[in-house]
């Protein structure tokens, strides 16, 4: 049997062969799921994650092709390599799912998130907030004498960093869209 070129514990059609199959390291993956924009499709996807005990770090969904009734769901999830493979396979067998792309392993991808931050304060704290917003290229989309609403776009890490800075300066509310992602190049 040893003459055969089959390594135990690896498969030839999965991401396992790219890494140690016995690794139990938890990885974060961004998946793009192309679905029919039909009633209940989001519930189906979410129900799959909750029903099988998978994690959702973020999830965005919107119709991207009105004529073709196609929506794109971008989901950021965590799990061991085996769990990630299972998530993709389970998504793939849902009837309204057309394609599942793992942007984390399929090559370089751009990931962006949009967030709105409401920061309340006066005096120096207000000035500091505005100065930091400028550094982060955040836009002021609403202002009163006691508050700003900043709009910021960037990676999850950038938005996390901005949140950390705003917190001592009077952060009162945050709205985040979750990650949208596309592969780079064609």
């Amino acid at each position: 049997m040893s003459a055969l070129n089959i390594k135990q514990g690896s498969t030839s059609h999965s991401a396992y062969e790219l890494r140690d199959p016995h690794a139990e390291i938890v990885e974060t993956h961004t998946l793009a799921v192309m679905v029919d924009n039909e009633a209940g499709v989001l519930a189906r996807v979410i129900g799959l994650f909750s029903g099988r005990g998978y994690n959702i770090d973020s999830l965005t969904v919107a119709e991207v092709d009105h004529k073709g009734h196609r929506s794109r769901i971008t989901v950021v999830t965590r799990g061991t390599p085996g769990v990630i493979e299972q998530i993709k396979a389970q998504l793939g067998r849902l009837v309204p799912v057309h394609e599942v792309h793992d942007l984390t392993v399929e090559g370089p991808a751009v990931e962006r998130e949009l967030a709105l931050f409401k920061v309340a304060g006066t005096g120096d704290r207000r000035v500091e907030a505005l100065r930091l917003a400028d550094i982060f290229r955040a836009n002021v989309v609403d202002s009163t004498l006691e508050s700003f609403v900043f709009e910021i776009t960037g990676t999850v890490e950038k938005i996390d960093a901005f949140a950390d800075l705003m917190r001592p300066l009077g952060l009162v509310d945050v709205a985040r869209t979750g990650v949208a992602a596309l592969s780079r190049g064609i």
């Binding site: 199959p21 129900g47 085996g82």
Partner: protein, 584 residues
């Protein structure tokens, strides 16, 4: 062929166009228009059940014994929620069903109307797919899609929820040929490179075993034929899961018997000791694998399955092949023959020598009795007295189910209907009626335990009404036998709530239903009693009073490996440790 008609008529027309000959159902307010259409035609037979769960299990029995989808029609609210157990059962065992539910009219949805339930919401996780149709013009297409999706790829139950106003409204009907081609087209051909690799493994293997499952049966009778040709051509041993019994004949020379928790000693040890495991349409269920860490530790594992999510879900495999078993086996045989039908003859001879040693253990032997009917004896006699008949067996869930799998032999696929994945007590009686409706002339026996059987006993009314001469062979130990066995092994013999008190008199019950009752408690009279059951032209409830405290062996205790089987009552003390006790 496009025509204007009401939604209700479309339902009946679509069923006809899909070749449906029988529907199992129960009327109610939200499906009255469809029932009105059923009244006005004669092509589709309607079997009136006594409870909607029964309808779904009957459709499962029908589907599994014919290979065609089973069709169910029930009303909204309680009609739909009563169907949920059957849907979950069908999803777990990959049984194709098309379930139609009525719904309150669209303008009332969300108002907590009478008999309103969020049927698509409730059944989303227990169907392969489901739809709420809000527009009569979309109904015909959805109906045709439903049949496609129920049958394509890994089969499963689908559900269409149809509001009452959609049934009354008029729309355009188009036949199946006009329906849009679904993008849902699972791949059926396996990767030829992987198949060739599997042939190379087959040529060299010293200790191979085929581990076959329900997927072979779902793939159709052709797949079972190809499996026989491959197994007999290579001379490899074959074992099967509960769901796969009959795909390879029990009379075949390669047959090892069922594997798993209550599988045969030789089958489990062959799995443990093999160097090449070829999984055909099985899914490494926890009843099969035992402790995963010690599951067949030295084998190369190949896995053929039509569902990519089955691959590497539980056990990591070395050679996955995604495809339909029939197609893959056809290609596999072609390649194997073209390369000269090679196998490792010396290795195989040694392997079979080892297997014959294991068989000497006679793992199914039990202590006979001249005063009490042993359940195993009852099944041995049923087997002997029905041998040679084209016989269909259904079961309930528990000890009797495992004994039936051990002691009854199946030489053809689609003859064995049992609730495997979900383990639904109450499955067998309605399933046997579904089988009998599909095969009116055949012998259909439901091997049951008295506790399971009571769960859906109202369906005897259906059997009598529709003259389905099903034989209810109840192994009555006045206990929840499997629960009692686990309490003995695991919970210090504290038999909490695991006995059946105030049981009905089954013979009188039979008379009350208008069928025949037979009771037997003497092993010497058993043969005559079974013959009487078989000879009777109508439904029979056979109350077979058996040994009350018999345990089902062999048994792989929870959390143990294939080579740690219990063979009998000796040595069971402390057999299951804390780690295993949390498992079910």
């Amino acid at each position: 062929m496009q025509r204007q008609m009401t939604g209700a008529r479309m339902v009946v027309q679509a069923l006809k166009d899909q070749g449906v000959d029988v529907v199992f159902g129960y009327p109610g307010g939200a499906v009255l228009p469809i029932y009105d259409e059923i009244f006005q035609q004669n092509d589709i037979r309607h079997i009136l059940v006594r409870h909607e769960q029964g309808a779904v299990h009957m459709a499962e029995g029908y589907a599994r014994s014919t290979g065609k989808p089973g069709v169910v029609l029930v009303t909204s609210g309680p009609g739909a929620t009563n169907a949920v157990t059957g849907l979950t059962d069908a999803l777990m065992d990959s049984i194709p069903l098309v379930v139609l539910t009525g719904q309150v009219p669209t303008f009332m949805i969300g108002t907590d109307g009478f008999q309103e339930a969020d049927t698509v919401g409730i059944t989303r996780p227990c169907t392969k797919h489901n739809w709420l149709v809000k527009d009569t013009d979309k109904l015909a297409e959805t109906l045709h899609q439903a049949f496609h999706i129920a049958m394509a790829g890994r089969p499963g139950p689908v559900l269409i929820d149809i509001p009452k106003d959609v049934q009354f409204a008029t729309g355009t009907y188009a036949g199946p040929k006009q329906a849009r081609v679904s993008h849902y087209q699972p791949k059926v051909k396996g990767d030829i490179e992987a198949i060739t690799k599997l042939v190379e493994l087959i040529e060299q293997a010293e200790r191979p075993v085929f581990y076959t499952g329900g997927g072979v049966i779902n793939s159709g009778p052709g797949a079972s034929q190809l499996l026989r040709e491959l197994a007999d051509g290579t001379g490899f041993p074959v074992t099967s899961t509960l769901m796969g019994l009959g795909a390879y004949p029990a009379s075949g020379k390669g047959w090892l018997g069922m594997l798993g928790m209550h599988g045969l000693y030789e089958a489990n040890l062959a799995m443990h000791g093999c160097d090449l495991m070829i999984n055909l349409g099985a899914r490494f269920d926890d009843r099969i694998t035992g402790r995963i860490a010690d599951f067949s530790p030295r084998s190369i594992k190949a896995h053929v399955d039509i569902d990519p999510s089955s691959i590497n879900k539980v056990v990591r495999v070395d050679l996955p092949i995604v495809g339909d078993i029939g197609h893959v086996l056809e290609d596999l045989l072609k390649v194997w023959k073209a390369r000269g039908r090679k196998v490792n003859k010396d290795g195989l001879a040694k392997w079979w020598g080892q297997i014959e040693q294991w068989k000497l253990k006679k793992c199914l032997s039990y202590k006979g009795s001249t005063t009490t009917i042993k359940p195993q004896y009852a099944l041995e006699r049923l087997e002997a007295l029905t041998k040679g008949q084209d016989r269909y067996i259904t079961t309930e869930v528990g000890q009797h189910q495992m004994w039936a799998a051990q002691f009854l032999n199946f030489d053809a696929p689609n003859r064995w209907m049992t609730s495997g994945g979900l383990g639904t007590m109450g499955y067998g009686l309605p399933a046997s009626i579904g089988v009998q409706i599909a095969h009116p002339e055949a012998l259909v026996v439901n091997v049951a335990g008295e506790a399971s059987w009571l769960m859906n006993m109202q369906e005897m009314g259906t059997a009598v009404q529709f003259r389905a001469p099903v034989k209810q062979f109840i192994l009555n130990n006045e206990r929840l036998g499997m629960v009692r066995q686990w309490q003995q092994l695991l919970h210090g013999e504290r038999y909490s709530q695991s006995w059946s008190e105030s049981l009905p008199d089954f013979v009188k019950l039979a008379e009350a239903f208008g069928c025949k009752g037979i009771r037997c408690s003497d092993p010497a009279l058993l043969d005559d009693a079974i013959m009487e059951m078989l000879a009777y032209d109508g439904p029979v409830i056979f109350d077979c009073l058996v040994e009350k405290h018999e345990n089902c062996y062999p048994m792989i205790p929870s959390g143990k490996a294939h080579n740690e089987m219990l063979m009998g009552d000796a040595g069971v003390e402390g057999a299951i440790q804390a780690g295993g006790a949390v498992l079910v």
